[in-house]
C-alpha cells in the first residue's frame, strides 16, 4: 500500500504523517506528480488560508493534478474546502469537485458562539442517501456514532448534495463530503484521538 500526502504550503502535514504512522502506514510527503498519480491513496491535508493555498497549488500545477486523480483522495479541513467550488475566504475559486460554496460562519444571531469553531463536536451521518448510487458515508462505521471529533475552522461548507455527515455549530454544515473517489472531512481525523484514527483506517481500507 502506497499512501502519499500532498506537500504544499498549508501546515500540519507532519501531524497527518504521524497519525498514519500510528495506524501502521508509512506515508510519503510529496508534490511530485508521478508519485502522487501512482499512489494507492492520496491525502490532501491542510491548515491555512484558502487563496494562498490555491495560488500555490496553481503555480505548482497541483490543481489539475488533484482533479485528475482516480484513486481514493482524502481532503482534510482546508483540504476539504479547497475541493469545493468556491470559498468566501479570499473570494477564491477552488477545485470544484464538490458542488459546495464555502462560507464564513456568521455569529451575529448567536453571539455566545465563538469563531473559529474550535474544539470537539459530534457529527451526524446523513440518512438521505443522495450519493451517486445512493451510498452512505464510507469512512464512518458504527464505532464512530455519537463520538466527538476535533474541529478548527472559521469557514464551512453548507449542507449540500455531496454531504454525507453533518455537524451543527451556529448552523448545520458539512462535516464530511463524498463524491466518487473523493472523500473529505472538515474535522481533523489526525487530531481526533481513537475515533479519528478509525476514520483514517477506514479510508486506508477502501
Amino acid at each position: 500500500m502506497k499512501v502519499a500526502i500532498i506537500k504544499y504550503n498549508a501546515g500540519n502535514v507532519f501531524s497527518v504523517r504521524c497519525a498514519l504512522q500510528r495506524i501502521g502506514v508509512d506515508a510519503i510527503v510529496t508534490d511530485d506528480a508521478a508519485t502522487l498519480r501512482s499512489a494507492d491513496k492520496v491525502v490532501f491535508p491542510g491548515v491555512g488560508e484558502a487563496s494562498t493555498a490555491m495560488d500555490y497549488l496553481r503555480r505548482h500545477n497541483l490543481d489539475t493534478l488533484i482533479k485528475s486523480l482516480t484513486q481514493p483522495v482524502l481532503g482534510i479541513c482546508i483540504g476539504m474546502q479547497l475541493l469545493c467550488r468556491h470559498s468566501e475566504e479570499g473570494n477564491t475559486d477552488c477545485l470544484g469537485i464538490f458542488d459546495s460554496d464555502v462560507l464564513r460562519f456568521d455569529n451575529s444571531a448567536a453571539p455566545g458562539l465563538k469563531i473559529p469553531h474550535m474544539g470537539w463536536n459530534t457529527i451526524e451521518p446523513c440518512q438521505h442517501g443522495n450519493m451517486t448510487g445512493g451510498t452512505h458515508c464510507k469512512l464512518l462505521d458504527e464505532s464512530c456514532t455519537g463520538k466527538y471529533l476535533y474541529f478548527v475552522h472559521s469557514y464551512y461548507a453548507p449542507v449540500g448534495s455531496h454531504t454525507v455527515a453533518t455537524c451543527n455549530y451556529i448552523t448545520p454544515f458539512s462535516a464530511m463530503l463524498q463524491k466518487d473517489n473523493f472523500y473529505a472531512t472538515q474535522f481533523h481525523p489526525e487530531k481526533s484521538g481513537t475515533v479519528g484514527e478509525q476514520i483514517l483506517k477506514n479510508f486506508i481500507m477502501l
Binding site: G11, N12, F14, S15, C18, A19, Q21, R22, V47, G48, E49, N107, P111, L113, K114, I115, P116, H117, M118, G119, W120, N121, T122, Y148, Y150, V152, H153, S154, N168, Y169, H188, E190, K191, S192, G193, T194, G196, E197
Partner: protein, 251 residues
C-alpha cells in the same frame, strides 16, 4: 454540541515535567512524552506544554520534544514558553504543534500577535495572560509572573483578540496552586466581553471547581497541571461528573 475542554498542562523544565506552587518551589513530576500520552489515553481534549524557564533565561522551546509529542499523541497540543518571533512559531508548527501560546513577548511587542495570525492563522495564536488582582483590578505580568506591567487584563485580552489571537489562556496568579477554585468572576467577564474562546487556568483542586468554571465562569476550556499529574483527579471521573451535571464533554 461543542464540548467544554479539559486541558492538562505540562510545565517543562530541562526536559522534565514540573509543577510550581504560586510560580515558585518547583516540584518535579515526570517525562513529558509519557505523561502526555497517558493524558491522551485518559481522555484529555488537548494538551499544553510550557517551557517554564524559557522566557526567564531566554531559551527557546525544545523542538525535539514537540516532535516526539506529535508522534505520540493523537489530540491537539499547544506549546509555549520563550516564543518571541514568527520564526520560533514556524519551527514549532513544523515540528507538529497545533498552536503556540505567547505571553511576555506579546506584552513587549503586541505586533507579534498580528504577525503570527497573519502568517499561520488566528487559530494558531493563543495569548496567555498571567494576571494578579490588586484592589479589584487585574494587572498583567511578564516572565512567569515575575515582573508587573501597566496592562490590565480586560483591555489587554481585548487588544489581543483584535490583533488576531485565536484564544485567551488566562492564569490567575492569585489562584494558581492554591486549589480553592478558578477565578470565575474574572473569567465570566472575559468570556462575555470577548468573541474568542477563553481557557481558564489556576486554582482548581476539586471536581466542583471545574463545574463552576464552566457553569459560572463560562470558560470554554479548563487547564490544570498538578491535579492531573499527581492523580488527584482522574480525567474520566471528572468528565463523567461534569456530564452528570449537564456540561457537554467528550466521553
Amino acid at each position: 454540541m461543542l464540548a467544554r475542554r479539559i486541558i492538562p498542562c505540562l510545565d517543562v523544565k530541562d526536559g522534565t515535567t514540573v509543577k510550581g506552587v504560586n510560580f515558585v518551589n518547583l516540584k518535579n513530576a515526570g517525562d513529558p512524552i509519557l505523561l502526555g500520552k497517558r493524558y491522551c489515553d485518559e481522555g484529555a481534549d488537548e494538551l499544553v506544554f510550557l517551557d517554564i524557564n524559557a522566557s526567564h533565561e531566554g531559551r527557546s522551546t525544545f523542538v525535539d520534544m514537540v516532535r516526539r509529542v506529535a508522534e505520540n499523541v493523537s489530540i491537539p497540543f499547544t506549546v509555549g514558553g520563550g516564543i518571541a518571533s514568527v520564526h520560533d512559531v514556524g519551527r514549532l508548527l513544523e515540528a507538529g504543534a497545533d498552536k503556540v501560546s505567547i505571553n511576555s513577548a506579546a506584552l513587549r511587542n503586541p505586533g507579534l500577535i498580528d504577525d503570527i495570525a497573519h502568517n499561520f492563522g488566528n487559530q494558531v495564536c493563543v495569548l496567555a495572560i498571567d494576571a494578579h488582582c490588586v484592589d479589584g483590578e487585574w494587572g498583567c505580568y511578564l516572565n512567569g509572573g515575575r515582573i508587573p506591567t501597566d496592562r490590565k487584563l480586560l483591555e489587554w485580552a481585548y487588544e489581543g483578540q483584535e490583533r488576531g489571537a485565536g484564544e485567551i489562556l488566562f492564569t490567575s496568579m492569585d489562584h494558581d496552586g492554591v486549589k480553592q477554585g478558578f477565578a470565575c468572576e474574572a473569567l465570566s467577564e472575559l468570556s462575555s466581553r470577548l468573541d474568542i474562546p477563553i481557557i481558564a487556568s489556576g486554582g482548581c483542586g476539586a471536581k466542583e471547581h471545574f463545574l463552576d468554571v464552566f457553569a459560572k465562569g463560562h470558560a470554554d476550556g479548563a487547564l490544570a497541571a498538578s491535579l492531573f499529574q499527581l492523580n488527584e483527579i482522574h480525567i474520566p471521573d471528572l468528565k463523567r461528573y461534569l456530564s452528570d451535571n449537564g456540561i457537554a464533554v467528550r466521553i
